[in-house]
């Protein structure tokens, strides 16, 4: 089963085997679709689940939540207090009902109760939560809902509805929160707002989350680990940046936009010319276009599309392009008319696509030393 590359860095970070973890060993068979997953998922921060439609992402979440009944195998959840709870063990004929699992799920469509107000929806969760610890006001503050508490739910905008759904799920005080494409129906502004909110909630309440999305941009911003599914099987699992980098070389470049995915400390918020400096390593910085939203942050998630980086053989000292890095070509991967280069700069791999024509013209080979250059505007981030 374990023939997919696993990043040991992600798995070995656990201090002991009592850390919060979700053990999956399940199979689901439908007429045209099989899902078979055997994996221990450490519940650290937000874990992304990525894949095309019909890759089994939503089915996996429904199985964990207890909404998928035709399932064989085992699911065990170990919570923050190191208590393990068997959710399903089909051999022993044991299946906990969804209402017994203490798992929350925010659906793509908010599924709010239309006969209740916003407050009524939230109280629905509070009333059914045994020994609640959370402060209602704190959750309202985190989800910024105080102004709409007495509204009917069908008066709300899509973004507000998803915030109510999120608050309602949190108020049930689950041990694990599942998010099934919660942003897919929202506009970009609401998406960023909700993503920030999710990150904040995850930190404030230290509530582990599994977040399903078909948008790598969203996942790249908030997830610590990433699970990639295709046709009901695990393709890859591990640290988000490493998994994205492995996907770059998977030759099925349609699955993602090939990119270099980074988490970097902010060194200078504004260099006086509207650029923010990120520390790539002790000696080198990367410049990106400054945004007010960076001011409160110390760390930034960003990515550079492989098609936005170019290669020169000599140091480009007379260029308007602000970022240039010296590195060594580590790998050359031919993909139709393009070539994907993996270039090692300092301690970081960068991914560059150039045309096969340019590669021949510069006669690039492995271990050759080159300069990368990319504009400040090529360093992208999703959260503004």
């Amino acid at each position: 089963m374990n023939n997919y590359p696993i990043n040991n860095a992600a798995l070995n970070n656990r201090p002991n085997n009592k850390a919060p973890q979700l053990d999956l060993n399940i199979s689901i068979n439908y007429q045209q679709f099989d899902l078979a997953i055997e994996l221990a998922v450490p519940l650290i921060g937000i874990t992304g689940i990525f894949g095309h439609s019909a890759s089994g992402k939503s089915t996996l979440l429904r199985a964990i939540a207890g909404l998928e009944t035709s399932l064989r195998g085992e699911i065990t959840l170990t919570d923050k207090a190191s208590v393990s709870k068997i959710l399903v063990n089909s051999e022993q004929g044991l299946t906990l009902k969804p209402e017994q699992r203490q798992i929350g799920l925010v659906f793509q469509n908010s599924r709010l109760f239309t006969h209740l107000t916003v407050l009524g929806n939230l109280e629905y969760a509070v009333k059914r939560c045994k020994n609640s610890h959370l402060s209602f006001d704190e959750v309202i503050e985190l989800t910024e809902l105080s102004a709409v508490l007495n509204h009917r739910v069908n008066q709300l905008s899509g973004g507000q509805q998803q915030r109510v759904a999120l608050a309602r799920a949190i108020l049930a005080e689950p041990k694990l929160l599942l998010l099934d494409e919660p942003l897919s129906a929202l506009d970009r502004h609401s998406k960023t707002q909700l993503l920030k909110m999710m990150l904040n909630i995850q930190k404030q309440l230290s509530l582990p989350m599994l977040y399903v999305s078909h948008s790598l941009d969203e996942l790249q911003q908030v997830c610590d680990n990433l699970l990639v599914l295709a046709e009901g099987k695990v393709v890859n699992f591990g640290n988000i940046h490493q998994v994205i980098h492995q996907l770059n070389n998977d030759n099925n470049s349609d699955i993602i936009h090939q990119q270099t995915s980074l988490s970097l400390p902010i060194k200078t918020f504004n260099n006086g010319h509207g650029l923010t400096a990120l520390a790539l390593n002790a000696h080198e910085d990367i410049f990106m276009v400054c945004d007010q939203a960076f001011e409160q942050q110390t760390q930034l998630r960003c990515f550079i599309l492989a098609s936005d980086i170019s290669i020169t053989l000599t140091e480009p000292t007379n260029s308007s392009i602000v970022n240039h890095l010296f590195g060594t070509i580590k790998q050359i991967n031919h993909q139709q008319n393009n070539v994907l280069l993996t270039v090692h700069c300092g301690s970081q791999d960068f991914f560059v696509t150039i045309s096969a024509f340019s590669q021949q013209k510069l006669s690039l080979t492995i271990r050759q030393q080159v300069y990368l250059q990319f504009k400040a505007s090529a360093v992208r981030t999703f959260i503004h």
């Binding site: 969804p98 469509n109 799920a169």
Partner: protein
Amino acid sequence: MNSDLQALITTLEMAALTTIILLIIGTPLAWYLAKMTSRFKVIIEAVVALPLVLPPTVLGFYLLIAFSPEHLPGQLWQQATGQQLAFSFSAIVIGSVLYSLPFVVQPLQKAFEQLGDSLLEAGALLGAGPIDRFFSIVLPLTKASFITAASLGFAHTVGEFGVILMIGGNIPGETRVLSIALFDHVEAFDYARAHLLSISLLMTSMVLLAAIYWLNLPQRSKYKDLTVQAARDEKSIDE
């Protein structure tokens, strides 16, 4: 007491009791049918809908045979209660329950089908068990359909004639209901009393139906929102 007044009281008692029984057995039956995926569903649905197309006298004829002391149901009833089932108040209530079943089951089944599973799943994940989900989600969202089902069941039972004629006979204070009393008056060429009964039945039915539609008005718009929402949900899931 005026025999027509007595017939009215018997009719109202029969219809009220029938409606209560129908809600108690019709709700789980409608729920089961709404959630059922087996191919036997169509057979059960057909059986429930039979009274809509069958001449009431056919149903009444078979019930008369079943209720007689020579056959098992009638025998069991007599052993349990010490009384004969045929030509009793209990017989016309049982007959009415079967006869008015589709009027209660069908609107409820349709409402449960339209409600779908999505809100129930949301409720389960918030810790609500099945009974809790029924009273906190299903009932408030399908209230209008419950009112419709109960009213239709009641009104249809009041208007029943053929089944009661077959299994109830014409015992004053026991099985003599308004429609039978009316038939008696016509048979006796007492058209004045027949007119009085007919006009009052007509008016009462009219008022009752108008009241159903009036009661449904505010809920109906709410319900529409719900079904639109459900339809939208279905669509986005398909995408």
